[in-house]
Symmetry: C2
């Protein structure tokens, strides 16, 4: 290439990197057009070797690529990487620790300038051996200190969801939680906290009967909701806060099966704002969005040193916005009235069940 333009390699380098304008205008043009002609592009490898930084960043994830949920984190990370002319290595470990280890090694050998360690859902993860000290944790928190990390603010999200319902006038608000168990997501506890907090704030009783569990699926949501909807009038909830959108979809089914209209007879709010699901329900589901794109962006910005994390050892909580659609409304008028015994003269539709499934 240097030859093609009839100049030294140094000059080519200087021109192509816009190092000051110490090079004469005509030389610059000559180099530029020669490069164009030859289709020359400097080798990032050689440059990386020389400059000791590769302009690449490694992104290790447990399952992002495998699962349809958190892809937008990648998009967020990519977008800022691209804006800064960085290329990203993606390694999906499938949750396998051995794979993770070799990924860390391989990335180090590639001299990546930064490392992001991402999880598919909000969780606490053990810090893998050999992970660079400046790695950023995305959608997870390391079990050891000293790292930057970003996670959704699930407590505030749970609070926001509940507040949405309280603001609409509901006083009997149920929380359809995921199963207990060793795999219980940390997000569930956080959302539950937010839920309770707002209830108390609003002077409402935290009724254990309104906190039910189900498997994290459409069916789980339906079963839990069915249980709640057959409660006696006096305690039956008028609004359901579901752990996620899939469970909310199940709650829709339970409501429909009882002839309950949403939001007229029952309000429902979900969590996740799952693409192609939440917005497509009838009526479209009001829900809390997980800020995946924003978290991905934040992580990459911090990793590249474009944005400083507040503190070295703090986990950044990112707001989960309320997505208002049409599944939340005021409670049915009659429920505001004082207790009525379950004497069987209910609202016109509350028990007109319809066969389903």
């Amino acid at each position: 290439m240097a030859a093609a333009a009839g100049v030294s390699a140094t000059t080519v380098s200087l021109v192509l990197n816009d190092v000051e304008s110490r090079i004469s205008r005509e030389t610059r043009d000559r180099v530029r057009s020669a490069a164009e002609a030859v289709g020359y592009a400097p080798s990032s490898l050689a440059r990386g070797l020389r400059q000791r930084r590769s302009q690449t960043v490694g992104l290790i994830s447990d399952q992002i690529a495998t699962t349809p949920f958190a892809g937008r984190m990648l998009a967020g990370a990519q977008d800022v990487a691209r804006a800064h002319e960085k290329l990203v290595f993606l390694v999906d470990t499938g949750g396998d620790r051995a794979v993770e280890q070799s990924a860390i090694r391989a990335l180090a050998a590639q001299q990546v300038d930064a490392t992001i360690y991402a999880a598919m859902w909000h969780q606490i993860v053990p810090v893998p051996d050999g992970l660079p000290a400046d790695a950023v944790f995305l959608d997870c928190r390391p079990d050891a200190g000293g790292f930057r990390s970003v996670v959704p603010d699930d407590r505030a999200g749970g609070a926001a969801a509940t507040r949405e319902l309280v603001a609409a006038g509901h006083r009997r608000i149920a929380f359809i939680d995921t199963d207990e168990g060793p795999t219980r997501p940390i997000a569930a506890d956080l959302r539950l906290e937010g839920y309770r907090e707002v209830l108390r704030e609003a002077g409402l009783r935290v009724d254990p009967a309104l906190h039910v569990h189900g498997e994290t699926s459409i069916r789980g949501g339906r079963e839990a909701a069915e249980h709640l909807l057959q409660l006696p009038d006096a305690v039956r909830p008028t609004a359901l806060f579901c752990f996620n959108d899939r469970m909310a979809v199940g709650a829709y089914a339970a409501a429909h099966a009882r002839g309950l209209r949403i939001p007229h007879d029952l309000s429902i709010i979900g969590y996740d704002d799952q693409q192609f699901i939440a917005a497509e329900q009838e009526p479209p589901l009001t829900t809390i969005a997980l800020p995946h794109y924003e978290m991905g962006k934040w992580a990459m910005e911090v990793a590249l040193g474009i944005r400083a994390a507040e503190e070295q050892d703090a986990t950044h909580q990112m707001t989960c916005p309320v997505i208002r659609r049409d599944s939340v409304g005021p409670p049915p008028a009659h429920v505001a009235k004082p207790n009525r015994r379950r004497t069987s003269h209910h609202t016109e539709r509350s028990l007109s069940a319809t066969p389903e499934r």
Copy 2:
């Protein structure tokens, strides 16, 4: 490092790369343990520079990371890359041609050993300028010849779906297609072809009244299905083949709204086997799976030269397997009977509509 082990760099290289066993056993051990102790890992950059291949592959996609559908293609590609000690650069262009261009350049500068160009859904794409001639197209076909590519065999998939219904005894099988329009996916035409082919094969009439269109969403599927279900008895379909699972979910809603049970009164088959959706319906949806993981695997294998594409210029059609769940059954007994006029004494439930939405 060479120093740490008290040998030359050459020896270190030889040992760590298992080049013959010309090195004495004890020297090897010494080098290995010194490397371990120092935490030494050879620089892939330097090695790449020297060997003129970087052990990396570039994967350019329009939207894989943004959308929840095709992530498993990444997983498939990753898995084979990892098995061959390759790292993959992922660039999600968001469909922006300019970004795509710079990605191609950046990848070339990184000396990637192979390039994969992936789309989020089966389509014909223009070949981007500067794309290496040995690039492999994943889930799309280039509009110019000379490239290897892999796509799902949507025609066969459409045929398989229809055959599933025919085999169950259905004779009036509708196809709920996506909207027409400039964005009409190529897959739609292919699946339609397969549908018609099997109908003819089975000696069934291809009734245009049973080919309806809707927007590609739950709502679109519901509306199209509603239309079909209110057709007069004589022509009303007993089975619905839906363009995708989301539309099938809409069809479920339409069926339930009319009090029809699936598959007892109506059989439904979808397409995509969308994760966390298809299997969670009630009853679980029988559908055709898109072989995303397999296609990703194939593309990477071909790109790395591990597997030879049949012909240089052929597009590989990958089978879409039938996922049998519970939404397909035999048609209701009465429909086999000769024509009955819409004299209004229908089956016990066929018109007992139930309020919905």
